[in-house]
């Protein structure tokens, strides 16, 4: 495992291009495009203001930089550096901007969600979509880029519109039986749309592409409901995490619950392996005087004896958005594993074996888990806790790696390269790349954590 040097970064804006060749990062008002492997700067664009959002087009040819404060979007071309495009939303304001899947349209949401503007880079045509709903996850493109599902709110009722992305024609428009729709998400096969209601009510609805209601699911009533939902890459499962600290896995045939995965703070199943992060004793790091002094001690994982009780957080019951329930969940690329985080056990990541529908591994960190992401190629999970370490888990085991560098590099977020060979570690003001490929290195993958390229 090798680490790149540390580069500057602002607002954690660092993205690999979809084709995996480039890496875009933002420093204040500058947009830097590097080669993803050599990290040499290929292009440097200057925007008019501090960039707040950056996004690659699907064909990796264009880059979109949004400056919400100014209501401005600037688009850059990688092929023609002199080409530029600037979209000004003027007094309407701007709160969100994204690419359409074809990479030739920019979708801007104005302030107060008055409307959505579809700007085309090919023609002068501009389309407007009225009444987009201001919610957690109101826009969802299908994986094949054909359809856009958009949550709308009209006359105090929730609607979903399905547009054909090729010509922005409305294909279907139907009202959902939700109180206050909170999110929509296409299944990866693009045939089923999952819709879930606000946290006040547990309600998951599944619509077919043609607007038919396939199924409605409600696990319980009179309590806080869905907090997060995720499709498995195979479209076979929909995992719904809720405020009661459980993940319910729905199947794609009957849309009934396959399993209820509880997240108790006490793990008692002897088949579950609990990896506990432990600070390394100072004796372990002897004989490396050249190593720069880290503020945080090195750590390693220990397999804990199985009746384990995890650290829990007592949530404040009188505040909004209490820190309870399953706030994050993700399937591995092969759909074999499901990683979840229970917000009132902030230090732990649960990894479930989807084939057996039971708990497989629990990682207990020393600090609260900030983010985790699966390797897009293999079942490998990267976790960060806001400390100077990055943690990797695979079925073979797990490891904690100190990010080298001067001072304290706090990994707040991370993102995988599309081939799974490298991992961008994003801190507050810096980022670095972690290369995992070890074809030539052989068994020295773990190596000394302080090795610099």
């Amino acid at each position: 495992m090798n680490f790149s040097e540390v580069f500057k970064l602002s607002s954690q804006l660092c993205k690999f291009s979809p084709d995996g060749k480039y890496l875009a990062s933002c420093v204040q008002y500058r947009l830097v495009v590097r080669d993803a492997s050599s990290l040499q700067i290929l292009q440097l664009y200057t925007c008019v203001d501090q960039i707040q959002h950056v996004e690659w087009s699907a064909d990796s040819l264009f880059l979109l930089c949004a400056m919400y404060k100014r209501g401005l979007v600037q688009v850059w071309s990688l092929e023609q550096p002199e080409w530029h495009c600037r979209i000004d939303e003027g007094s309407a304001g701007l709160v969100a901007s994204c690419w359409s899947p074809d990479g030739r349209h920019v979708l801007n949401t104005t302030e107060f969600h008055l409307r959505m503007t579809v700007w085309s880079l090919c023609t002068k045509s501009v389309s407007y979509i009225k009444y987009p709903k201001a919610c957690q996850q109101g826009v969802s493109f299908s994986r094949d880029g054909r359809y856009l599902a958009l949550a709308e709110r009209r006359d105090c009722k929730d609607y979903v519109s399905i547009f054909v992305c090729s010509d922005w024609q409305l294909l279907r428009h139907f009202d959902t039986g939700t109180q206050d729709l909170a999110g929509i998400e296409w299944a990866p096969n693009g045939c089923v749309l999952a819709v879930w209601d606000t946290c006040l009510e547990y309600k998951v609805l599944l619509y077919s592409l043609d607007g038919r209601l396939l199924a409605a699911y409600c696990a319980y009533e009179w309590s806080l409901g869905v907090k997060a939902a995720a499709w498995s890459p195979s479209s076979q499962f929909l995992a719904v995490g809720s405020y009661d600290g459980k993940v319910r896995v729905l199947n794609h045939v009957t849309w009934k619950v396959l399993a209820e995965l509880g997240h108790p703070a006490a793990v008692s199943d002897s088949r579950v392996v609990v990896y506990k992060e432990a600070e390394k004793s100072p004796r372990g790091s002897l004989g490396r005087p050249a190593c720069p002094p880290h503020r945080a001690a090195e750590s390693r994982y220990e397999v804990a004896e199985v009746p384990v009780s995890l650290q829990t957080l007592k949530p404040a019951a009188d505040r909004a958005n209490p820190k309870i329930g399953i706030g994050a969940l993700a399937f591995s690329a092969d759909s074999c594993f499901l990683a979840t985080r229970n917000d009132n056990v902030p230090n732990a990541v649960w990894v479930w074996d989807v084939r057996k529908l039971r708990l497989f591994v629990v990682l207990e960190q020393l600090g609260p888990v900030r983010a985790f992401q699966w390797d897009p190629q293999q079942p490998r999970l990267a976790v960060c806790t806001g400390g100077s370490k990055v943690y990797l888990w695979s079925p073979a085991g797990c490891v904690s790696v100190q990010v080298p560098g001067e001072g304290d590099f706090q990994v707040l977020s991370l993102c995988w390269h599309s081939n799974g060979d490298s991992l961008a570690l994003l801190g507050k003001d810096h980022f670095c790349l972690c290369f995992l490929e070890t074809e030539d290195g052989g068994g020295s993958a773990l190596g000394p954590p302080g090795s610099l390229t």
């Binding site: 003027g90 990479g103 090919c122 023609t123 994986r143 890459p233 695979s394 085991g397 070890t438």
Partner: protein, 612 residues
């Protein structure tokens, strides 16, 4: 007469006093001393009597006394003390005999009276004690009554209190319920109000939005614009198409096509899964039939009611099997047949497993008997063989010795011995060597023989162990297979109906090992072959050896079929990963790579996703 009375009075009173004294004495005395006391007391009584008499009768008044006594006695019905006088004038004579008789009678009477008195007294005592006891009892019961009465009053009081409390609680509950109802109503009204307000607010918000929209958008805001250097081509290279009814229809078509594709894909997947499962079922059936076929002949002979159905099932099996294309048929037609036959087979198998179970236990019971017979047979055969060999060797040695002797004698006789001496010596040496060699051989044979007997014994033991192991393995195998038909309560019921026949099977199985050696020794091949054929246990080694790899092969094929593409890279990845990270590796992490059909779906789905 009056004088006497006055005189007698004290005496009588003294007697009565005495009596009272006596009675008081007896009253006081314990019962054990009672008789003694009586004896003792009789003495002073006699004395008293004596003194009484002395007082009553003096020298002077004998006559009067006698007449008085006579009178008294006659009034009491005793015979007169006087002799019957002939004449009235003559003085009546005192009849001593009569006096004595009277005395005796009096004494007897006295004794009787005493006895009666005693009895009465004891009875009196008893009654007295009874009385006491009863009085005690009465007192106690009275007390009890009193206490229970008090208790009752207490309880009644408590009951009253509790009832009071209960009433209060009921009241409270009612109040609470009312409260809850009220609160619920309040909540509901609040909720409706909230919703109403929300709606109103939202409407207002929408109005404002609309207004804002008009204000912002319709003003022809010069700022709202896109500056672009030049328009770029579409990603697909085509020109944008106009939005027309045609395109709308095309979009619809496309959508339905996508949906159809998805459904078709899913249907195919399900069909594949079904076919796979059917195949598994079919194979299982075949295996079961092959496994159970030797067993079938027996029930057929017995022609039991329960097994009759089995036979018919078996007979229709080949017909079914010939239709290889049966999984192309729709489910309804095939499913029932298949599941039914499988169920039947399963029942047979279960009974068979039970039988095996019994056999195992029986083997445990019978212990070495069975094994001994077999091993001894082999053993004996082998020893016979060895002995034969030894015999042959011995004979050879003998003949050679004879030859040697002959040679020696001829040599002695011969004059040309000297000439041959060298030869002879050489030969002798050679023979000696041979001799020793033979001896060694013999020794070796002996050793071999010994080792062989040991080996034979060991073989017997091993065989027994193997038998046990096989039985347990089979049992386990079938128990493992039980999982797929668990819910079928009907099956269980029918199985219990089958258990009768299985018992019979057990009986025959019991009789088999005893019969088998007979058959062999008698040299009746028909009989023995019948036995071996009809019973699954005797040809089992070959049969099960045949089926075991079949099953395992099948399962492995299954696994491989399901996850061939997945398992390999996965494992490879894992190995590579384990190479990489050796910090904390999981002991049993490899086990997760094989699973059910869902994975094929997963994988193929992923592939499918990549296609468009």
């Amino acid at each position: 007469m009056g004088d006497w009375m006055t005189i007698t009075d004290p005496g009588l009173s003294s007697e009565s006093k005495n009596l009272s004294q006596y009675t008081s004495e007896t009253k006081m005395s314990p019962s054990s001393l009672y008789s003694q006391q009586v004896l003792c007391s009789s003495i002073p009584l006699s004395k008293n009597v004596h003194s009484f008499f002395s007082a009553f009768c003096t020298e002077e008044n004998i006559e009067q006394s006698i007449s008085y006594l006579d009178q008294e006695l006659t009034t009491f019905g005793f015979p007169s003390l006087y002799e019957e006088s002939k004449g009235k004038e003559t003085k009546r004579e005192l009849n001593i005999v009569a006096v004595l008789n009277c005395m005796n009678e009096l004494l007897i009477l006295q004794r009787k009276n005493l006895l009666a008195q005693e009895n009465v007294e004891t009875q009196n005592l008893k009654l007295g004690s009874d009385m006491d006891h009863l009085q005690n009892c009465y007192a106690k019961l009275k007390e009890q009554l009193e206490t229970s009465r008090r208790e009752m009053i207490g309880l009644q009081e408590r009951d009253r209190q509790l009832q009071c409390k209960n009433r209060n609680l009921h009241q409270l509950l009612k109040n609470e319920k009312d409260e809850v109802q009220k609160l619920q109503n309040i909540i509901a009204s609040r909720a409706t109000q909230y919703n109403h307000d929300m709606k109103r607010k939202e409407r207002e918000y929408n109005k404002l939005k609309e207004r804002l929209h008009q204000l912002v958008m319709n003003k022809k805001d010069k700022k709202i614009a896109m500056e672009v250097l030049n328009y770029v081509g579409r990603a697909d290279g085509k020109r944008g198409s106009w939005r027309t009814g045609k395109s709308e229809a095309r979009n619809e078509d496309e959508m339905y096509k996508i949906l159809l594709n998805d459904y078709e894909y899913r249907q195919k997947q399900i069909l594949m899964e079904n076919a796979e499962l059917k195949k598994v079922l079919q194979q299982m059936k075949k295996e079961m039939i092959s496994l159970l076929s030797p067993q079938k002949q027996k029930p057929r002979e017995r022609a039991d009611d329960s097994t009759g159905t089995v036979i018919s099932d078996v007979e229709e099996d080949p017909g079914e099997l010939s239709r290889e294309s049966m999984w192309d048929l729709s489910c309804e037609t095939v499913r029932e047949q298949l599941t039914n036959s499988i169920r039947k087979q399963w029942r047979i198998l279960k009974s068979h497993v039970e039988k095996l179970d019994n056999q195992v236990s029986k083997v445990h019971l019978e212990g070495f008997n069975d094994e001994d017979v077999i091993s001894r047979q082999d053993h004996e055969e082998e020893t016979e063989k060895l002995e034969l060999e030894i015999q042959q060797c011995k004979e050879m040695i003998k003949t050679q010795q004879q030859l040697l002797q002959q040679l020696a004698t001829t040599c002695d006789d011969d004059t040309t011995s000297l000439l041959r001496d060298c030869y002879l010596l050489e030969e002798k040496e050679r023979l000696k060597e041979e001799w020793s060699l033979f001896k060694e051989q013999k020794k070796n044979f002996e050793k071999e023989r010994r080792s062989f007997t040991e080996a034979a014994i060991r073989l017997g033991l091993e065989r027994k162990a193997f038998e046990e192991e096989r039985a347990s393995w089979l049992k386990q195998q079938f128990l493992n297979m039980t999982t797929f038909d668990h819910q079928n309560s009907e099956n269980v019921r029918l199985f219990s109906a089958f258990s009768g026949s299985s018992d019979q099977d057990n009986l025959t199985a019991h009789s088999r090992p005893r019969q088998k050696p007979h058959g062999v020794s008698n040299g009746a091949p028909v009989c023995s072959s019948k036995f071996t054929k009809s019973l699954p246990a005797s040809p089992s080694t070959s049969d099960f050896c045949h089926t075991r790899p079949c099953v395992s092969e099948h399962s492995s094929i299954n696994v491989l079929n399901v996850t061939p593409e997945e398992a390999k890279p996965n494992r490879a990845g894992r190995e590579c990963a384990s190479q990489k990270w050796s910090v904390a590796s999981r002991p049993g992490s490899q086990d997760g790579c094989c699973s059910g059909c869902s994975l094929t779906y997963t994988n193929s789905h992923v592939e499918k996703d990549d296609l468009p």
